[in-house]
């Protein structure tokens, strides 16, 4: 197992270099640069822009700049944001906590609802319950998340049940510790619902189809034939076998954990990485964009690896020697 993990980690390095080089080229080829907005500002002189370009090493050929960036990354220095003049790592760290909390909470929400619902509708296939729950799930998937965010915030404004946007209220620093947790949770409810409903339908449908497929497998029929109680059939024989794709999926979701949800973050006024990155991409703040690409790629690759390791644990049929030849 250790050999397998080491090998996979070694494989990540050329992959990361490839991903970051491509992103670097793409950002560089995009028309314009960070200084475009400044150049249209009457109070900023061309001299000032020239000075800033020198300061941030613009004007050197692309391979040189990429090489330098890579060298710094190897020393755990992600460079400096042009817009903020602050280290990229510090910027990302300052926003990461909230993004992770939000992403984790909405992931728990999605999974905790989608999987039981998927099981129920699969077991009650074709009934009114199946159809109505599927309808609700698809409705959730097809409503644009920012629109749902506005609807819920408007509802919150009218009813006063939930705070309208933000992650904490103004009095947060003077609340008791318990009050602080409550305040956080209250602010999390709406965003979690918005982000969670989007992913619910696909998970639920996947669970449903997995279950339906396995329900007709020979070993399920055998189990039923030898008189195993129904709940044992479902939990031990069906669910256990249906798990594999979900383990893989969970690994992928780790990669999106730091991605943030820019639109919902902007609309619901949450402090997160999504808006930071969207701004960075829009203003072509090169090193900030690169920093986020790097972080998400690493998370995705690590998530993938963790999922594969987890797979061998939940499914004894899979072993490392086979994995090594079949990995993507």
């Amino acid at each position: 197992m250790l050999r397998f993990v080491l090998r996979r980690v070694a494989q990540m390095i050329p992959l990361l270099v490839g991903i970051t080089f491509l992103s670097f080229v793409v950002v560089d080829l995009a028309p314009g640069d960070f200084f475009d907005t400044l150049s249209m500002n009457p109070s900023i002189s061309p001299d000032m822009i020239r000075e800033m370009k020198v300061e941030f090493g613009y004007g050197q050929p692309l391979p040189v700049r990429y090489g330098r960036w890579l060298w710094r990354v190897a020393h755990l220095d992600l460079g400096m944001s042009v817009a903020y003049r602050v280290g990229v790592l510090d910027l990302i760290a300052s926003r990461a906590m909230n993004t992770v909390i939000l992403a984790a909470a909405s992931m728990v929400f999605t999974w905790a609802l989608a999987i039981p619902i998927g099981v129920i509708v699969a077991l009650r296939r074709g009934t009114l319950l199946d159809r109505s729950l599927s309808f609700v799930a698809f409705f959730g998937m097809s409503v644009p998340s920012f629109f749902l965010a506005f609807l819920l915030m408007y509802a919150a404004l009218e009813t006063g049940w939930f705070p309208v946007g933000g992650t904490t209220s103004l009095d947060y620093p003077i609340l008791s510790p318990l009050g602080q947790i409550g305040d956080r949770v209250a602010h999390l409810v709406l965003p979690v619902i918005v982000l969670g409903t989007g992913g619910m339908a696909s998970l639920m449908r996947l669970m449903r189809s997995q279950l339906l497929e396995i329900q007709s497998a020979d070993y399920v029929r055998t189990a039923r034939a030898k008189g195993v109680p129904e709940w044992l059939v479902v939990s031990k024989h069906i669910l256990r076998n249906a798990m594999n794709p979900f383990v893989t999926l969970a690994g992928y979701e780790l990669g999106t954990l730091l991605g943030g949800a820019a639109l919902v973050e902007a609309v619901m006024n949450l402090q997160g990485l999504g808006t930071l990155m969207l701004d960075a991409v829009r203003s072509l703040d090169l090193y900030l964009v690169m920093g986020s690409v790097l972080m998400s790629s690493i998370l995705l690759l690590v998530g993938n690896l963790l999922a594969d390791i987890a797979l061998t644990m939940v499914d004894p049929r899979i072993d490392f020697s086979r994995l090594e030849t079949t990995v993507r």
């Binding site: 500002n41 510090d90 910027l91 049940w161 309208v164 209250a186 409810v189």
Partner: protein, 564 residues
């Protein structure tokens, strides 16, 4: 299992409901000794000298002060860290007498050394900042001389009238930032990761908390020097909070949710707010027209039109006074105001906003919307429909067809473009409307000059010299033909001369004449055909006392108080 989850959700909902009660919001706003406002984006730096965006300069505007500040009502400089000033007869040496007894937030005394240090930072080679090029007079940096701890002389190469209006930049503490300027790390100081207590100013408030993308919080500087008439301490409010709300719709919802004291509504929200004003306990103030300008400009740059020894006919049209005057008469400003500003706007006449009461020239005759006059002018210029296809041709038979662009995503400008296209089509012009993304637009305006007509806008300021980059023929933002070696036309040469004279004239009354002349020339030659100006409003809780908003900013914001 599902039921348990629903139960848990309900419990959370009830719990949250008890927290976020609406009337509670109003209570908190009214009772607190704190002003809560909102801003659309995060500051990028806390170093006021390095700020290139309004969010960054706004974030520390109450933390730092300049020698003077522009009073938004009188639009004249008023004493801040300097109590008085005078210049010598030549107008090249200014002496500032500094306020005594002022201390920095960390208790250190404020002296002339701090002012000299700030000037040194402005002119430092390694510090890119926007004050530098404004204050480079005759291409040379200003020199300072500390006379005594409370007197400083500033010397420049030539008399420079915009000096007082431009010297309001924030003064920085030498004892804090001096070492960084000396070792070349000044540009990395006071980034947004700096602990707030390390940001040292002299202003009425100190920064006490910054949560990225969430809020900025300030506490009163108890040692602040300013007093009101009765000798009472200023500022009146103990705290200020600025929420960072990146979405305008969300900001509006937060105002309706009683989380903010103030809100600058968009035109479409004004009627709604007026209806709710009693319920929300707000007053809605019309604070005047916007200070910037929105215009359509035609490309007059020969570089764009001469290819392979041939000159494109468009250059002749766009530099023909008859053509541009016809254009100035050709669009319906009232319909622009209705469609883009919901009726809250005025036709624009001059390049300087009427809100600039010192320099705005009120004597210009507006170009009225008059399609008949426009047709007559085009006919006179020889632009007629010669082949009956509904499109006019010039004397050489070239159909009048050109491209109209603006930056895509700016809804106001996109709507203005569609109105222009509609009216111009009525005139017999063929207009191809092409919105551009911002990077492409900048490339066209500053690098390849490949554009015909463009709807653009600029922000305005009280000091008219601030637009010299745009007005001077050698300026890089002289859109219609930038970076000219020598002025291409007599009127551009005249504007250059007037700008020069206006910058040298120290008598404020005589100075105005130069800028009136510039507005006259611009109005006659129409390099920028002015469109419309939006009317600005501020909605504020009616229990705010001494709250006087203007389009140039709040008047004496340190007096704002909350009536209990």
């Amino acid at each position: 299992m599902k039921r348990r989850w629903l139960l848990a959700l309900c419990a959370v909902a009830v719990f949250a409901g008890s927290l976020g009660c609406r009337k509670g919001g109003e209570e908190r706003l009214r009772r607190g000794d704190r002003l809560v406002t909102a801003t659309i984006s995060d500051p990028k730096t806390f170093n006021p000298l390095l700020a290139v965006d309004s969010a960054s300069s706004d974030a520390v505007s109450e933390v730092f002060e300049g020698l003077v500040r522009l009073n938004p009502k009188t639009q004249l400089p008023e004493p801040m860290l300097a109590t008085s000033w005078e210049h010598d007869d030549a107008g090249t040496t200014w002496t500032f007498h500094l306020r005594e007894g002022v201390t920095w937030h960390d208790g250190a005394p404020f002296t002339a050394d701090d002012v000299a240090f700030t000037f040194a930072a402005v002119f430092d080679q390694k510090v890119p900042n926007s004050a530098k090029h404004v204050l480079m007079v005759g291409g040379q940096p200003m020199r300072t001389e500390v006379v005594d701890p409370h007197t400083i002389k500033v010397m420049m190469a030539e008399p420079f009238a915009p000096f007082l209006n431009s010297v309001g930049f924030d003064i920085l503490p030498r004892h804090v930032l001096g070492p960084a300027l000396a070792d070349g790390t000044f540009t990395q100081t006071w980034g947004i990761d700096t602990p707030p207590e390390k940001i040292i100013g002299t202003g009425p408030y100190r920064l006490v908390r910054y949560v990225p993308a969430q809020l900025l919080q300030y506490a009163r500087n108890p040692a602040y020097w300013m007093r009101d008439e009765a000798g009472g301490a200023l500022p009146r409010l103990a705290e200020r909070t600025s929420l960072i709300v990146p979405d305008q719709n969300t900001m509006y919802l937060k105002f309706l949710d009683r989380q903010l004291h103030l809100y600058g509504p968009r035109p479409e929200e004004i009627d709604d707010l007026r209806k709710r004003s009693e319920d929300l306990e707000i007053t809605l103030d019309d604070i005047g027209l916007e200070t910037g300008m929105l215009f359509v400009s035609f490309n007059r740059n020969p570089a764009h039109y001469s290819k392979d020894g041939k000159t494109d006919p468009r250059l002749a049209w766009f530099t023909d006074p008859k053509f541009v005057r016809a254009i100035a008469h050709s669009f319906d400003k009232q319909s622009m105001i209705r469609n883009t500003y919901f009726g809250y706007g005025e036709p624009a006449v001059s390049a300087i906003s009427p809100e600039n009461t010192t320099y705005y020239d009120p004597n210009l005759t507006p170009y009225e919307y008059d399609l008949e006059a426009a047709r007559r002018l085009l006919d006179e210029g020889g632009y007629r429909d010669r082949n009956g296809d509904g499109i006019r041709e010039d004397v050489h038979g070239n159909p009048l067809e050109f491209e109209l662009s603006t930056n895509a995503g700016n809804q106001v400008r996109e709507r203005l473009c569609s109105i222009l296209k509609e009216d111009w089509t009525k005139l017999g012009l063929k207009v191809n409307y092409r919105p551009l993304d911002f990077a492409t637009l900048v490339e066209k305006l500053s690098t390849n000059f490949d554009w015909d007509a463009m709807v653009m806008g600029f922000t305005g300021s009280i000091e008219p010299h601030a637009s010299s980059n745009l007005l001077r023929s050698s300026g890089n933002l002289h859109l219609w033909q930038p970076n000219q070696q020598t002025p291409a036309t007599p009127w551009e040469a005249e504007i250059d001369r007037e700008l020069e004279a206006g910058a040298r004239e120290l008598d404020p009354r005589k100075r105005v004449a130069h800028y009136w002349r510039i507005q006259e020339i611009l109005h006659r030659e129409l390099p920028m055909i002015q469109l419309v100006r939006q009317r600005r409003f501020i909605a504020a809780k009616s229990y705010l006392v001494d709250f006087v908003p203007t389009v140039w900013g709040f008047f004496e914001p340190e007096r704002i108080a909350i009536r209990p």
